[in-house]
């Protein structure tokens, strides 16, 4: 509403609303993205002061070069066995995603989220962490569990909310949780796990433990207040935590510009907080491994937190409820300049003479078989659409450690209702 007061002769202001470079029908062209050559970025000593490395927040740590060789100071120099294990975890994650995506389309569950194109982000990082380091993931880090050899059947039971789902059918599919696997319960409220990871890390430090925490969020939800709360606490108390921002370019249909990605890098947020910040090629498993290893060493030696931006691309939709063809160019994933993380690691192993296409094909088949067998086993425990798998009473359990009177009364009401409905659901 214009003011009634006479104005000086000034040009009208304009509100800027960001717009992604490509929309459906456009040919994606990423030639403007600056991709520095692999091996070019310096690797500071892990004991160096965060203030001496702001350049790393604006660069891009890359290890695998155009000839599929590992080059430069960030090369973690992993043995071939470790590389093959990492490749297998990534392939298994992709196969798992494929199967569960189809399961959703077949009506076996309500919802699924793939991490296609981002497998290296979770898996290579997990390989660089200890198994008892606590992970506070967001919803696209199923690779952590797979890299930790967690049971696929157990994961699928959760996706299906079936009778063997340890979470009693209370969580949305894919929102895994396992204390034994050092994998913190996933929340649908975005970035809430960030301050929690910092708190866990602070407790570990206060207790003189040696375990560290790591957390992941998307670039979209790095706009949440929780992200900034976590950064200030992590910086102030030098918490032994690794804060990962998975910049996969899209937050459902909002491109990274709406999270501030046009103005600067996400890693650069670390600079303002006095945190070490690294920007990493998220489709380069070796770069992700090296960055995580570096950050973990800083955390373990009381040098404080590290914020790592994984520059990557969400090759699929946000979830099974999303239709990316409605808002982005069809060929973006194919044109993504940093390639596919699985293909790059595979080609690296081949270049080392430690792998070949036949073995890759055999492994892919094996992964598909493993997933298929697991799915059959999980489906024996039930799928979402087929009945109420858990006794009705479980709905009221674990709201509190002990059930208060009002929940007991409401539970009785529910049991009465079930009886009136001819006991359609099972009870204890």
């Amino acid at each position: 509403m214009a003011s009634d007061t006479p104005r000086r002769n000034l040009p009208p202001l304009e509100l800027y609303v960001p717009e992604p470079k490509f929309r459906p029908g456009d040919d994606a062209d990423f030639s403007d993205i600056e991709v520095p050559p692999a091996g070019e970025t310096r690797r500071p000593d892990t004991a160096d002061d965060h203030g001496d490395m702001p350049d790393l927040a604006y660069g891009l740590v890359r290890v695998l070069d155009e000839d599929n060789k590992a080059v430069g100071p960030w090369d973690p120099k992993l043995d071939a066995d470790t590389l093959r294990k990492m490749l297998r975890s990534m392939a298994l994650t992709r196969a798992f995603d494929e199967r569960m995506f189809r399961a959703q389309r077949q009506g076996k569950t309500s919802f699924y989220m793939k991490c296609t194109g981002e497998e290296a982000v979770a898996i290579a990082a997990t390989f660089a962490l200890d198994r008892d380091d606590m992970c506070f993931p967001s919803y696209r880090q199923q690779g952590i569990l797979i890299a930790r050899d967690w049971s696929l059947v157990d994961m699928m039971n959760q996706v299906y909310s079936n009778k063997r789902d340890r979470l009693m059918g209370r969580q949305l599919p894919i929102m895994y949780s396992t204390k034994q696997g050092s994998f913190f319960s996933i929340s649908g409220n975005l970035a809430t796990q960030y301050p929690q990871a910092v708190g866990w890390a602070m407790a570990s430090a206060a207790k003189g433990d040696s375990r560290i925490a790591a957390t992941w969020t998307g670039e979209g939800s790095s706009a949440e207040g929780d992200f900034h709360s976590a950064c200030i606490f992590a910086a102030v108390y030098k918490a032994p935590v690794i804060m990962n921002v998975v910049n996969n370019q899209w937050a459902i249909s909002s491109f990274s510009g709406f999270a501030g990605g046009e103005a600067t890098t996400f890693a650069a947020r670390a600079v303002g907080y006095g945190i070490a910040g690294l920007r990493v090629d998220g489709n380069d498993a070796l770069a992700v491994y090296a960055a995580t290893q570096w950050a973990a060493e800083r955390a373990r030696t009381n040098k404080g937190p590290t914020l790592i931006e994984h520059f990557t691309y969400r090759a699929e939709g946000h979830s099974t409820s999303d239709d990316p063809s409605q808002y982005r160019s069809a060929n973006e994933a194919a044109e993504w300049p940093l390639g596919d993380p699985i293909a790059r690691l595979k080609n690296h192993l081949i270049a080392l003479g430690e792998w070949d296409e036949d073995r890759q094909a055999a492994m892919d088949k094996e992964c598909a078989e493993q997933v298929k067998t697991a799915a059959k086993q999980a489906e024996k425990n039930g799928i979402l659409g087929h009945g109420l798998h858990h006794p009705l009473e479980t709905m009221f359990e674990q709201v509190f450690e002990e059930m208060p009177w009002h929940l007991k009364e409401q539970m009785q009401d529910m049991l009465d209702e079930n009886e009136a409905a001819n006991n359609v659901a099972k009870t204890r």
């Binding site: 301050p195 866990w200 207040g225 606490f233 102030v236 674990q398 009177w405 009002h406």
Partner: protein, 349 residues
Amino acid sequence: MSRGDNSTSQRNMIQAINSAMDVAMERDENVCVFGEDVGFYGGVFRATAGLQEKFGKTRSFDTPINECGIIGVAVGMAAYGMRPVAEIQFADYIYPGLDQLVSEAARLRYRSAGEFTAPLTIRSPFGGGIFGGQTHSQSPESIFTHVCGVKTVIPSTPYDAKGLLIAAIEDPDPVVFFEPKRIYNGPFDGYYDTPVEPWSKHPASEVPDGHYVIPLGKANIVREGSAVTMLCYGTMVHVTMAAVETLGIDAEVIDLRTLLPLDIETIEASIKKTGRCLVVHEATRTSGFGAELAALVQERCFYHLEAPIQRVTGYDTPYPHSLEWAYFPGPVRLRLAIERVMEDVSGEV
């Protein structure tokens, strides 16, 4: 501080709260306290005074001005296995941290099927009567009683404050502990028109030095009576008592102490005895906790009631600064409500 199991000391509420944390920290090294100004300075109300000196900086420390961070960090610490006691300097500031409490701490046990828990305590001064204006006076307790998985506790005396806070810290579930700051420094005499004596000079009362708990979920019958049941908590317990004594009415006054879980048995037994019910709280009326109390009493005791349930509450406005004594429910507002609730069905008083 501790001088043996049976020793007691004169303490006002803030000193009792301080003693509760001291005792809890001494008994369990996982208990840590933090919040804005909590460490070196001991809190703006001095609730944590001396704790950093005694237990060190890793167990009592200052935090950034960031309620989302304070509560979020507390969730992580609790999930690790510690017993964090976080202070939100004023209840009015709890809103930026609400999501961490409501969506995270409250549901962690449920959504992880008991694998992860958040046994944390959020302490926060609440309520008006100290000329705090609309940013230092609110009573947001009903927001938390509406949330599944959080316990809400409000003490009204130094003795209760210590016993309830120790119980809250030792409780396996997340607890929001609202401290009525109007009576931090001593029992408030309950007269809004005679607080000429500075409230900071009000006397303390006897509080045990050592460890004791008042179980959560147990109300306290402050005064037995047969004419009407008055349900109240926090500062309003004192206002209610002042009104009852002035009017010379045979009221039963129940201090709820814990809003969730609520001691429904005590409430029900009392209403069935008196047949009349008056609910008193300082929070705004609409959707306030008094509405829940009135609904529960109506559902359970309707045929015992001889008059409609009455509510005495703050008004549905932000807390005014200069007019706060007109906002604050006082004995006169109670008297008018008591007159209404004591009316016979015939309409005669």
